[in-house]
């Protein structure tokens, strides 16, 4: 489409726009199903069987099983929906975030305690913006 996507230039960042939302529709709705404790139990009992009830692509299913959040985001997952997966796993938002950055949880925590990922203002290294 010819809608401008100026945000595509921002490194390390995926904007959840309508194109991503269409791609991730069933993935995100699967995530929503984990808001019910019955469904969480069924998912935990047999993840693959549970996933097979949803119209996910094979890639999406694999990425859920692998808890590969960067991959899930590139396949249309939105972080607030994906949060239902790591909540089901009993893991924190901070832990999940750390897995996307290539850091250990401890490294990530330390970075945050030291004031977070530093960004200059204005951000100098954007391409095309």
């Amino acid at each position: 489409m010819s809608i401008d996507k100026p945000y595509e230039g921002i490194a390390g960042t995926t904007i959840f726009d309508h194109d991503m939302a269409r791609q991730g529709y069933h993935l995100n709705q699967f995530c929503m199903s984990l808001m019910k404790s019955d469904n969480r139990e069924r998912f935990k009992a047999d993840q693959k069987a549970y996933l097979d009830q949803w119209s996910l692509t094979e890639d999406q299913k694999q990425a859920v099983l692998a808890r590969d959040y960067n991959q899930l985001i590139s396949l249309g997952g939105n972080i607030y929906f994906l949060a239902k997966i790591f909540s089901t796993d009993g893991l924190s938002f901070q832990y999940a975030a750390s897995t996307m950055t290539g850091m250990s949880e401890q490294e990530y925590k330390t970075m945050m305690l030291n004031g977070g990922r530093q960004s200059e203002y204005p951000f100098p290294d954007e391409k095309g913006v």
Binding site: P6, Y7, I10, A11, G12, T13, T14, I15, F16, D17, H18, A21, Y25, N28, Q29, C31, M32, L34, M35, R40, Y69, N70, I73, N78, I79, Y80, F81, A83, K84, S87, T88, S92, F93, Q94, A97, S98, M100, T101, G102, Y108, M111, M112, L113, G115, G116, R117, Q118, S119, E120, Y121, P122, F123, E126, V129
Partner: protein
């Protein structure tokens, strides 16, 4: 007549709610943050609102991908804390103000804001964490609350200027409600944070402080900042800050800063907080 007496801005980080619920507010990690809200609790006990018009966003709890309103106003009697996946927060139910909510709805729709009216909605941490920060842990919330949910999850979200002008329309609506009510408007979310991708953990103090400065002094100019700048400088989830402009639009041009607080980190997020009177 009803009047908007003050505006409050605050982040609404879910981990902050968990810290309160689990009694961790005096832990080393959390103490500095909660200290920043001591003044606020005092202030609000001395300036108790009848109604809080609470601008927040839902985080895939009340709204799935099946239906995403840009602006949704809660007109119901009661709103229950949402089960976000590990049981609802053990905080009181929220009592709405149906008469004022529908008065505002009727007024701002006639001012060309295309609201979605909601009479049944659970409210997530975006709404309940600010209540906990300001009111602590009472048996019941000491005022009525009108939930106003803004889409900041699915791009494009409403522009800063749209939000600012909506604030003005809300002000006009409250001013014309013929009952004597002390109304506060709260804008929540932010400040800089990014919860996803290799850039997760981004914090931008310079951006945040500049946002706070401009929100106070030059809101109209700030309102014209494009989405892209929020995302680039404030992180993908920093876009939540557009909601603060709804609050700001409902206040006079000149405001008095009663309180200003900034803290890093709360989990993945920078926390900002303002109390403005006019």
């Amino acid at each position: 007549m009803a009047r908007i007496s003050a505006g409050v801005a605050t982040s609404h980080v879910p981990a902050v709610g968990a810290a309160i619920d689990l009694g961790k507010t005096q832990d080393d990690y959390w103490k500095p943050l909660f200290q920043g809200y001591e003044y606020s609790k005092q202030w609000i006990s001395e300036n108790p609102p009848d109604v809080v018009f609470l601008v927040y966003n839902d985080h895939a709890n009340a709204f799935s991908m099946d239906l995403i309103p840009t602006f949704a106003i809660g007109c119901a009697e009661t709103f229950k804390p949402a089960d976000e996946g590990w049981g609802p927060r053990k905080v009181p139910d929220v009592s709405g103000h149906p008469e004022l909510a529908s008065h505002i709805t009727q007024s701002v729709i006639q001012d060309d804001f295309d609201l979605t009216v909601v009479n049944k909605m659970d409210v997530d941490h975006g709404l309940t964490v600010p209540l906990s920060l300001m009111f602590g842990q009472p048996q019941s919330w000491p005022c009525k609350v009108i939930p106003f949910a803004v889409n900041v999850v699915l791009y494009p979200v409403p522009s800063g200027l749209r939000c600012y002008l909506l604030g003005k329309a809300i002000r006009k609506a409250v001013d014309s409600f013929d009952r004597d009510l002390n109304v506060q408007i709260w804008g929540t979310g932010g400040m800089s944070h990014q919860l996803q991708g290799p850039r997760a953990g981004l914090i931008n103090k310079a951006f945040d402080q500049s946002f706070l400065d401009q929100l106070i002094e030059q809101p109209q100019q700030l309102a014209e900042m494009p989405h892209l700048d929020y995302i680039r400088h404030g992180g993908s989830e920093g876009i939540e800050l557009v909601m603060w402009l709804i609050m700001r639009g409902a206040l006079d041009q000149n405001v008095q800063v009663k309180h200003r607080f900034y803290h890093v980190p709360a989990s993945n997020t920078a926390v900002g907080h303002l109390i403005l009177e006019h």
